[in-house]
């Protein structure tokens, strides 16, 4: 049995010291906690602490001087929401609240916005003076601009969405379609006005929207049954005035991105999502107000169906439409985009076909750049863009070395982009721009192939022309040359196919076809020359016959003289 040692004085002091340290620690942390005040309010939408606490706005304590230089993400490292406060994380969908009421947040923060915020970006329009039933901004908000309102005040009204939103994708904005009952007081009144206030009505009346009963209130909100401006343009009725440019795509998308709605018209519903990926859409999202939106291209209030020749987006009118902005040097300066595309296009084969010959098969800007998703295709994509029409040529091109070389030539390298002209055999020769010699000058390994390709095609073309001339000569002698012309068709087929096949860059493919063209052309030349020879023979026979007749006449004259004498 061990003896229990009695507690010595040393042990006791040690215990007391530890306890004291512990108490001091606890006291300090508590003090520290007391020194870092908890966050007394809901954090919903209030991630920007500095917006209020930097200046001490709205009763928020100004942070002490020793916090200078600290950013928003550091605050919650020390300050935490008080117990009982609402949870910090909030889903994007706000729980419903009774519309019309002005519920305060759970912890008594700034009142939430009880109304739809679409088209109501300028809070101060109503709240500065307190009109239309909007509460007036309290005096301690003096000096604040409309940009800061939403920092503290968040909408509590449900913002219904018809499309489940994904991050970075702007969802279509719902438009309340008030039951109009066939009335359109907006148009009735604005029709009697003049200038800019009347123009929208005139435009709208000729539009497809008017024809399909989409009226003013369907986009602008308001009450179309009320003849009184206060009633018809009441914000209570949803009136939003002229929508902000940035919100236009989503506004149009509220119908045009709605499959259920558009199905009956068999209209596509991808325009909004495509637009957001386009250069125009991307810049608009960044706040650029100079880009085109639906309203700019689709003639604003005068929107018509795309197959209507009068609308700006009708294929024949598209180049001029795009040129409205893209040919404006001042407008394009900030982006550094050239502005000569329309001029180049007008004199190209595509431009002449589309604009002069009114041939709808020809491409407009939208054909290659896309319509709503307009973006210039990348260099590697060019062959597929051109190949969507020039499929046979693309098939040939893909067999060539050029297609597989990383930054090798594509269609535009040789044929141009906007200024596509009629290709000629000169593109084989020479060392200038847009000729084989640009990359394969004389003396390079491929120069021989270039020369052989040129020779094959050029020879075939010359022989073909000779055959055409021989036929023309026979025809001028009044010989009937139908069979020869038919034969020449075959030569033409081979020659044209050879010209297309030269995109493979393979001499074997091309010379097979040019060989056919040459041999058929030569046969035709022989046949035509035979006809010419026949014609010459006939003329000679004619001379013989006429001489014979002459002799007979002479004989008769002699006989007559003999008989009469």
């Amino acid at each position: 049995m061990k003896e229990k040692k009695p507690m010595t004085q040393h042990h006791l002091w040690r215990m007391l010291a530890v306890a004291a340290v512990g108490v001091i620690v606890i006291l300090l942390t508590t003090a520290a906690r007391l020194a870092q005040p908890p966050i007394p309010h809901d954090l919903t939408g209030r991630q920007d602490c500095l917006a209020c606490h930097e200046q001490g706005v709205n009763g928020a304590p100004k942070f002490p001087a020793n916090h200078a230089g600290r950013t928003n993400d550091m605050c919650q490292g020390c300050h935490h929401p008080a117990a009982g406060a609402a949870p910090t994380s909030t889903p994007p969908v706000v729980p419903t609240a009774t519309a019309g009421a002005a519920p305060t947040s759970a912890t008594g923060g700034p009142p939430s916005i009880p109304h739809d915020v679409i088209g109501r970006d300028d809070c101060l329009v109503c709240h500065a003076t307190g009109q239309a039933g909007a509460p007036k901004v309290p005096d301690d908000h003096a000096g604040r601009t409309k940009d800061t309102c939403r920092t503290c005040h968040q909408p509590s009204v449900t913002q219904p969405t018809t499309v489940p939103p994904t991050p970075a994708v702007l969802p279509p904005t719902p438009i309340p379609h008030p039951a109009a009952g066939g009335k359109n007081s907006c148009a009735d009144c604005h029709r009697t006005l003049s200038g800019k206030l009347q123009q929208p009505v005139t435009d709208w009346e000729g539009s497809i929207h008017a024809a399909r009963n989409v009226g003013c209130a369907d986009c602008h909100g308001g009450d179309p049954t009320s003849a009184d401006p206060n009633g018809s343009m009441a914000s209570a009725a949803g009136y939003i005035g002229a929508p902000d440019k940035a919100s236009i795509p989503a506004l149009c998308g509220s119908c045009h991105a709605n499959v259920e709605m558009m199905r009956q018209y068999d209209l596509p519903t991808d325009q909004l999502s495509k637009y957001q990926e386009s250069k125009h859409g991307q810049l608009l999202a960044k706040g650029d107000r100079n880009v085109a939106t639906c309203f700019d291209c689709h003639d604003g209030h005068a929107t018509r169906q795309t197959n209507d020749p009068g609308t700006s987006v009708y294929p024949l009118n598209v180049p001029a439409l795009c040129a409205r902005c893209h040919a404006d040097a001042a407008l394009m300066k900030p982006y550094g985009i050239p502005t000569n595309q329309y001029d180049l296009f007008k004199s190209s084969v595509h431009g002449i076909a589309l604009l002069k010959n009114q041939d709808l098969r020809a491409p407009s800007c939208a054909t290659c750049h896309g319509t709503h998703g307009a973006t210039p295709p990348g260099f590697e994509e060019v062959a597929n863009v051109c190949g969507s029409c020039h499929s046979a040529t693309q098939d040939y091109f893909l067999k060539s070395k050029h297609a597989s070389v990383a930054d090798g030539p594509k269609c535009v390298t040789c044929h141009g982009r906007y200024d596509v002209g009629v290709p000629s055999d000169d593109m084989f020769t020479g060392n200038g721009q847009r000729q084989c010699g640009q990359c394969h000058p004389a003396g390079s390994p491929q120069a021989e192939t270039v020369k052989s390709l040129y020779t094959a095609i050029h020879q075939a073309a010359i022989t073909y022309d000779q055959a055409g001339k021989a036929i023309a000569q026979a025809a001028s002698l009044q010989m009937i040359v139908g069979p020869e012309e038919e034969q020449l068709q075959q030569a033409k087929t081979s020659l044209l196919t050879a010209r297309a096949a030269q995109h493979t860059g393979q001499l074997a493919d091309v010379s097979k076809l040019t060989g056919q063209a040459v041999s058929i052309s030569q046969q035709t030349i022989q046949a035509a020359e035979a006809k010419v020879a026949e014609s010459i023979f006939r003329r000679k026979a004619m001379v013989v016959a006429v001489v014979m007749i002459g002799l007979v006449i002479v004989a008769l004259v002699i006989v007559k003289r003999a008989l009469v004498a």
């Binding site: 139908g482 038919e486 068709q489 033409k492 044209l496 007979v552 004989a555 006989v559 003999a562």
Partner: protein, 157 residues
Amino acid sequence: MSDLSNSQNGGPGQPIHRRTFIQALVGFSVVATLGGVLTPILGYLWPPARRSATKGERVAVGDERDLPVGQGKIVSAGDKPVIVVHTAQGGVKAFSAICTHLGCIVSWQQSRGFIQCPCHDGRFNPVTGTVISGPPPSPLSPVSVSIEGGKIYVQVG
């Protein structure tokens, strides 16, 4: 005339010469005329050697059994190229084989079931001749085709 009758009786040499001379001239005239006129006429009447036109200016382009369903070929009918296709939906059809875009001769794409022009990938429906895709501006003109006695005949002209 009186000279002649007188000269017949008397006078050696000259009158006979004269008469036979005139007879010779007349004979020459008659023979030359007859020859010059009859040669073309007889040559014309003799049937020409080329292409026998059977009834209705049709040309036989092959046997029916050589063109099963799904196949097609190019034939020459009166110096015009014609494409003949045995379609499932419409039987044997024939069209002018000259593409309405730039005049190349089209061909039958058996694996894909359409008529295609090799020059710029114009495609035509084999039952109606209408354009499926590509640059041709108008359909291929149809050609009458008939089958008699196991042979396929294509109308010329």
